[in-house]
Symmetry: C2
Subunit: 84 residues, 2 copies
C-alpha cells in the first residue's frame, strides 16, 4: 500500500452563475484592486488515499468526486495526487 495526498479543486462550470465570486469582484475597486478581475469561487478538498499505485488512487478519487464531492451538472473537479 502506498499513501497519496490528494487535492480536489471543485469549480463551477463555465456559464454557471457564481454569486460569491461576483460579490468579491464588486468589492475589489473600493479596496484598490483595480487590476484583478474574473473572480470565480470554488472549493478545495484535501485528504489522504491509501492505494496500491497512483492509478488505483486516482480511480478512487475520481469516483469520490462523482459520488460525493461535486454536483456534475454544475461543477467540474480537478484532481492532484502526490505520494506522501
Amino acid at each position: 500500500m502506498t499513501r497519496f495526498r490528494a487535492l480536489v479543486e471543485v469549480s463551477l462550470r463555465p456559464g454557471i452563475a457564481d454569486p460569491q465570486g461576483a460579490t468579491i469582484e464588486r468589492a475589489l475597486p473600493a479596496l484598490g484592486f483595480e487590476a484583478i478581475s474574473g473572480v470565480r469561487a470554488g472549493k478545495a478538498f484535501r485528504f489522504v488515499v491509501d492505494a496500491t499505485d497512483e492509478h488505483a488512487a486516482r480511480k478512487q478519487v475520481d469516483d469520490l468526486c462523482r459520488r460525493l464531492l461535486t454536483n456534475p451538472v454544475i461543477e467540474d473537479s480537478a484532481v492532484t495526487l502526490e505520494q506522501a
Copy 2:
C-alpha cells in the same frame, strides 16, 4: 502589463475544527471509501491579475488574501500564479 492567472487555495489552519471535512469523512465508509482519510475542506478562488511582472502580481494577490479572501486567525492561503 502582463496577465497572470491566479489560484488561491484557502485552508483551515492545523488544529482548527473542520465540521464540513469531518462530515464528509463520516460518510466515506458507507459509500465504500475505506482507504480515504484526513479530509479537510477549504476554498479555491481563481481570478486574473494584470501586473508589470510576476513579483508585482504576487504582491497584489498576497495583499488580497490578507485583506479579503482569508481570515488569517484561522485560515492559511497558498497562491499559484501562471502567465495567461
